[in-house]
């Protein structure tokens, strides 16, 4: 009997120990000394116990040292503090990492004093906006800003958003594949012109993103909800937009935004390096038309910068304001080498090629008319995806000269910034169009 009792006792003991250790350390953690208190605060909030730190070969690594990342790493690893991030390959640790970058994780770090309870940002019209942290619920009443939120990896915090390019079935299906919450989030849309203040109040947003064109800022100010205004009509301002959106959602989003800016800059400089030696005469004259064949971009618009970034020169750079209506005589005078049609609208290359009037434009005769593609968000607008527009346009303007693969870059881009694997054959077809 003694051996039996001893066996049962040992069994119970081992079970107890294993249960306790499972609670204590589902995975092993290695952290820089200075980061251990913050990681411990997160760990306690998640598991209600103190973590045990290992010295090496842990499941989860918390560090500030980017050297631990592979050399070809694109994007930003999950950040829980500014400059401090996790690296892991273990499934259990991944859950913890997800918690760390979530609003709950942010809250734990705020409670422990590692993150501020409120931040102050300066938006793109110079307004100083105070935003309590963490931001759990955001309304984007400006479709461009929706994609900024995706780009910084905070799309799970959207409660109402407008989506550019997701009205047609193809765009909607692709958007739903990227984010299953898309139908729910886009079911209530607050536009720049129309707002139902009570509906906004009911959504209980922590912050509202919109543009300077919003018509209802005074009304919403009554609700005392912070409003951040975006205006990204140049590459510099586009980058500012991303960094601003990143700031709002905490350290991880800020790191993702910075990673996008790095990626954008690297694509920019790759194209510029390969087209730098071209003289002004060698740069193709590009006309970009909008939702009507005779509606063109102005020099104030982001699209002009995209053309310049891709090595071309916009023939309409002298125009100001927003979209401009022109007539064919002026287009004859501009004499574009290439005509680019924006991704949206019903205008297609065939519209121009089949029109008897447009035959007098050499670009039409030579078949140099292209419709810029898009996946969901239009690649010509100041959204994160516009980096793909630069690549696509550079390849159209300088086939063979600019060595960037639109499809490969698109796969990387969507993986890193949308956390989504897009179908390779489909994106290849989109890029080739």
């Amino acid at each position: 009997m003694k051996w039996l009792l001893r066996f049962v006792f040992a069994l119970i003991l081992s079970l107890t120990v294993s249960v306790v250790s499972a609670q204590d350390a589902p995975f092993t953690i290695q952290a820089d000394d200075v980061l251990q208190p913050a990681v411990a605060a997160l760990y306690e909030a998640k598991y209600g116990a103190a973590p045990v730190f290992a010295d090496a070969d842990a499941d989860l690594l918390a560090t500030r040292d980017r050297a631990v990342l592979p050399a070809d790493f694109v994007g930003a690893p999950p950040h829980f503090l500014p400059d401090a991030f996790f690296v892991t390959e273990s499934q259990q640790a991944a859950e913890f990492v997800e918690f760390a970058v979530s609003p709950d994780g942010q809250q734990a770090l705020i409670d422990a004093g590692f993150l501020p309870a409120s931040i102050t940002v300066i938006d793109q019209v110079g307004n100083v906006v105070e935003i309590p942290q963490p931001v759990r619920r955001v309304i984007t009443a400006y479709s461009i800003a929706t994609y900024l939120v995706y780009g910084v990896g905070a799309s799970d915090r959207l409660v109402s958003a407008g989506y550019l390019g997701a009205r047609d079935p193809v765009g909607a299906a692709r958007m739903e594949a990227i984010d299953p919450r898309f139908p729910e989030v886009s079911s209530v849309v607050i536009s720049q012109t129309e707002i139902n203040v009570e509906q906004v109040a009911e959504l209980q947003p922590d912050v509202i993103f919109t543009s300077t064109r919003a018509a209802w800022l005074d009304t919403v100010a009554e609700l005392r909800i912070p409003v951040v205004l975006f205006q990204g009509e140049s590459p510099e301002r586009m980058k500012e937009s991303m960094l601003l959106a990143g700031q709002v959602f905490g350290p991880n989003a800020a790191a993702q935004a910075a990673a996008w800016v790095d990626y954008y800059d690297s694509i920019f400089s790759q194209v510029v390096d390969q087209t730098d030696d071209l003289s002004a005469e060698q740069r193709p004259r590009v006309l970009m038309v909008g939702t009507e064949p005779l509606r063109v971009i102005s020099g104030d618009m982001y699209q002009t910068d995209i053309i310049a970034a891709a090595g071309g020169q916009s023939v309409t750079a002298e125009l100001t304001g927003f979209w401009n209506d022109v007539n064919l005589e002026q287009i004859v005078l501009w004499n574009p080498d290439t005509i680019i049609i924006v991704p949206y609208g019903n205008v297609t290359p065939e519209t121009l090629i089949n029109s008897p009037e447009w035959q007098i434009i050499p670009a039409v005769q030579n078949g140099q008319v292209y419709k810029m593609p898009s996946w969901v968000a239009p690649w010509d607008a100041p959204v994160p995806d516009s980096v793909l527009g630069i690549i696509w346009l550079a390849q159209k303007l300088f086939p063979g000269r600019v060595e960037l693969d639109c499809a490969a870059e698109a796969v990387t881009f969507f993986n890193v910034f949308y956390g989504h694997a897009i179908p390779q054959d489909e994106i290849a077809a989109v890029c080739a169009s």
Binding site: R167, D168, E292, D325, N327, E329, V332, L333, Y344
Partner: protein, 351 residues
């Protein structure tokens, strides 16, 4: 016989002497002179000689020698249809304005009184929403313009008293109903694809006009103007009042209905091609009265000529002033109001 007597009476009353006749004749010639002049003007410089040769080349192919394809296309396919459309739309809007002001005995109305423009605007927005081509959009605009006026007319039949007042009220009601429907279309339209197209259409303008738009517009405007010219003296009687017209042996309601049908067809065609162009139908009739007096015998042709000339002038400025098109709505007021004030000062005639 009665008809002949009446015509004589009104001819006698409308007769003016000397200078007035010359002004009237000049006015009728004005659109033709302006058409030739404005065809010579454009952002793309083409010499007067080359424009003339390009214009005559369909008749005398030899004249096209030495002209570039660009010049021929710009003159024949861009400027010519646009100039013709401007003339036709201006004429249609002004003459129907005169007709409506006459039959409603109100100098502050135009042919949109019964909701034709609002209906057309909704039709165009609907067609754009379902992704229609230019032809479909124009067809819908035309069809819904007619529908709006028919609804206003049928609605007014529900009441037996004071038909014109009820008709006016119905027109305003139907107009605002279609206006709301258009707003609804804009509300549900895709802000990226359809909404800009709808807004573009509603603004009005002749930027994208090609030959495709001209035949129906020309047919309806010419036939409609001819009809208004035929009833010019009956309009004089109608503007006296229904009782007077009945005393003189006319059936005022049937005549009014046929004028409304005619004016609606013309306006719908004009709006279908040019979008919503305001002001002309309201103000040009007054300019016409200042110059030739209130007699419809001269007022109808004068308004046709004035409307045609005015829109042609405005549209030429719109397409040549800047590299971009200047919206017609901006120019009608900026150019039209000073012109009208000058006219008012120089000819102090009664209405």
């Amino acid at each position: 016989m009665r008809v002949v007597t009446l015509r004589r009476v009104w001819t006698a009353a409308g007769t003016r002497i000397g200078g007035r006749d010359l002004v009237y004749a000049g006015l009728l010639l004005l659109p033709f002179v302006l058409m030739i002049a404005t065809l010579m003007i454009g952002l793309y410089g083409i010499s007067i000689e080359n424009v003339t040769r390009a214009l005559l080349s369909p008749v005398f192919p030899g004249l096209a020698d030495g002209l570039s394809q660009t010049e021929i296309t710009l003159v024949l396919r861009i400027r010519l249809p646009r100039v013709l459309s401007a003339v036709l739309i201006g004429a249609a809007l002004a003459s129907t304005g005169v007709a409506f002001q006459g039959i409603f005995k109100n100098p502050l109305v135009d042919s949109n009184l019964l909701g034709v423009t609002s209906g057309a605007g909704f039709g165009a927005a609907l067609a754009l929403l379902i992704g229609g081509t230019t032809i479909v959009v124009q067809g819908f605009a035309f069809g819904f313009g007619l529908l709006a006026v028919s609804l206003a007319y049928l609605g007014s039949r529900l009441y037996s008293t004071a038909p014109m007042i009820v008709l006016t009220l119905m027109g305003i009601l139907i107009g605002s109903f279609f206006g709301s429907l258009t707003s609804l279309m804009k509300y549900i339209a895709d802000p990226l694809n359809t909404l800009p197209a709808i807004t573009f259409w509603l603004l009005g303008g002749l930027t994208g006009v090609t030959w495709n738009s001209v035949p129906i517009l020309a047919l309806l405007t010419v036939l409609g103007s001819f009809f208004l010219w035929l009833v010019r003296w009956r309009l004089n009687i109608l503007s006296l009042g229904d009782a007077e017209a009945a005393t003189l042996g006319m059936n005022p309601n049937r005549l009014k209905l046929s004028i409304i049908v005619c004016a609606t067809l013309m306006t719908a065609a004009a709006v279908a091609v040019g979008g919503v162009i305001g002001w002309i139908g309201l103000v040009i009739p007054h300019a016409g009265r200042i110059i030739v007096g209130p007699d419809h015998k001269r007022l109808i042709p004068a308004s046709l000529a004035l409307g045609a000339s005015f829109l042609l002038l405005i549209d030429t400025v719109s397409r040549t002033l800047l590299p971009t098109e200047v919206p017609i709505g901006i120019l009608t007021g900026l150019i039209g109001v000073p012109l009208l004030i000058v006219l008012l000062r120089r000819n102090r005639t009664g209405w």
